[in-house]
């Protein structure tokens, strides 16, 4: 594995950890949303962040050469 692919792999790992944290945040926001309806906004933002992270994971998978055309 060359250095370029390793760098992208590291980014993918970081984004995966980030999205995992965000998913935990979504669960927390949903569980507390009955008392605090404004937490739903936080949950929505976290879903957005997860989707963004996934989009960059897909991009880095491609750019690092892990997936083909």
């Amino acid at each position: 594995m060359d250095a370029r692919a390793a760098a992208y792999g590291a980014w993918i790992a970081a984004l995966s950890v980030l999205s995992l944290v965000c998913v935990l945040g979504i669960v927390w926001a949903e569980m507390t949303s009955v008392q605090h309806p404004e937490h739903r906004l936080v949950g929505g933002a976290l879903i957005g962040i997860v989707l963004l992270a996934y989009s960059f994971i897909l991009l880095f998978l491609r750019k690092g050469g892990f997936t083909g055309v």
Partner: protein, 385 residues
């Protein structure tokens, strides 16, 4: 002059592509998928709109409160309302990118004027939908929009009052207004799909969806926007407090901003001129055969003797210009004698690109002004030099 400006714009467009292609792989370049992105946002709009339709009540007393109910009481209602708001803006951005890109790269030549015309219709309807959507909320902005639109229509000499009555259902603001606006929000949204059919009908393998990277990115961005900048109404419209301030959505309400600088009649005239020019763009540069050179090599012709009915050109033609018909008589060559089908070129759909020539391994298609023998002569001359 126009040609020079267009060449300059084309240069910028392609330079932008080069920059983006350095960052993204070529098949992820978002500017190659502006049409697909528009379709993505339209789908999001339809789905979130169906959700909002369940709660919306089109009457003066309850419209505002029903929207507030969705926003405050329904779980994630605020988010879904935001999705509907922000993806409408994204829809407009994607449509405009699509328009300008195809304008600057001149992708409206020959029979491609039909996608262009239907695209202008889609743009018009999308803009109209945006305005009626802002009226449905029935806050002060909505009231202002209704007043401004009414005044603008009424200023048309002769038929002005009639136009306003046609739109609002009565001379003044009556109970008919909001149901009418709801219909004018939902009905044209359905009509969009009819225009989309027209938009796609001459295209084979249309790119109707962006790559997953951009689907996820767009949805994520919209969600972040609707959480950080929640979509809100202004205060409720009421007959006593005259609205003064127009909170502007620059993608849909730009004409209403222009109203502060132009009289309504001039604005309507300007709009008509812009739309008419937009529809005229594909026909603006009538070029002679010589000026077009290779690009006008004549409509592809089927060589009846050689066609084997294999359908390869039919599958590859990007504009659905080739149809297969039952063969009326056998071909001449050995491979063509047992044919069941014969390829026919629909002249009105052909853009003279020659892709069918490359598809045909049986030498059964030719561009009349650029024959296979011409190419072979050039190859031989090149090899001799």
């Amino acid at each position: 002059m126009y040609k020079r400006v267009l060449a300059r714009l084309l240069r910028w467009t392609l330079r932008l592509d080069v920059v983006i292609n350095r960052v993204y792989p070529e098949d992820f370049n978002p500017l190659y998928y502006t049409g697909g992105l528009s379709n993505l946002f339209l789908t999001v709009l339809i789905l979130s709109g169906i959700f909002l339709l369940f709660y919306y009540i089109p009457s003066f007393n309850e419209a505002y409160t029903s929207v507030e109910f969705v926003t405050a009481q329904v779980p994630y209602g605020q988010i879904i309302r935001g999705i509907h708001r922000y993806s409408s803006d994204a829809f407009m951005i994607a449509i405009l990118l699509h328009l300008f890109r195809n304008w600057f790269t001149e992708r409206f030549r020959f029979s491609r004027d039909e996608p262009w015309i239907s695209g202008m219709m889609l743009l018009l309807f999308a803009g109209f939908l945006g305005v009626t959507g802002y009226v449905l909320v029935w806050d002060q902005r909505a009231e202002l929009l209704v007043a401004m639109t009414g005044n603008a229509l009424a200023s048309v000499p002769g038929i002005g009052g009639w136009l306003r009555t046609m739109l609002y259902g009565a001379p003044g603001t009556t109970n008919l207004l909001l149901p009418r606006m709801l219909y004018l929000h939902v009905g044209p949204a359905v009509v969009l799909y009819i225009f989309l059919w027209w938009h796609y009908v001459r295209i084979r393998h249309p790119k109707v969806w962006p790559p997953a990277v951009w689907t996820l990115f767009s949805l994520g961005l919209i969600l972040i926007f609707c959480s950080l900048l929640p979509a809100v109404s202004q205060s409720q419209a009421s007959p006593v407090a005259t609205p003064t301030r127009l909170a502007v959505d620059w993608f849909f309400l730009l004409p209403y901003v222009v109203l502060t600088y132009l009289s309504p009649l001039w604005l309507i005239l300007l709009g008509v001129v812009i739309v008419a020019y937009g529809l005229y763009i594909p026909y603006q540069l009538p070029e002679t055969e010589t000026a077009m050179g290779l690009r006008d090599s004549g409509v592809a012709e089927v060589v009846d003797a050689n066609c084997t009915g294999c359908e390869l050109c039919y599958y590859d033609c990007p504009y659905n210009a080739i149809v297969m018909v039952p063969s009326p008589h056998p071909g001449v060559t050995k491979a063509a004698q047992a044919r069941k089908l014969l390829a026919i070129v629909l002249e009105s759909r052909c853009v003279e690109c020659g892709i069918c020539i490359g598809a045909c391994p049986f030498e059964a298609l030719e561009l009349p002004r650029l024959l296979e023998t011409d190419i072979q002569e050039r190859v031989l001359a090149a090899c001799r030099s």
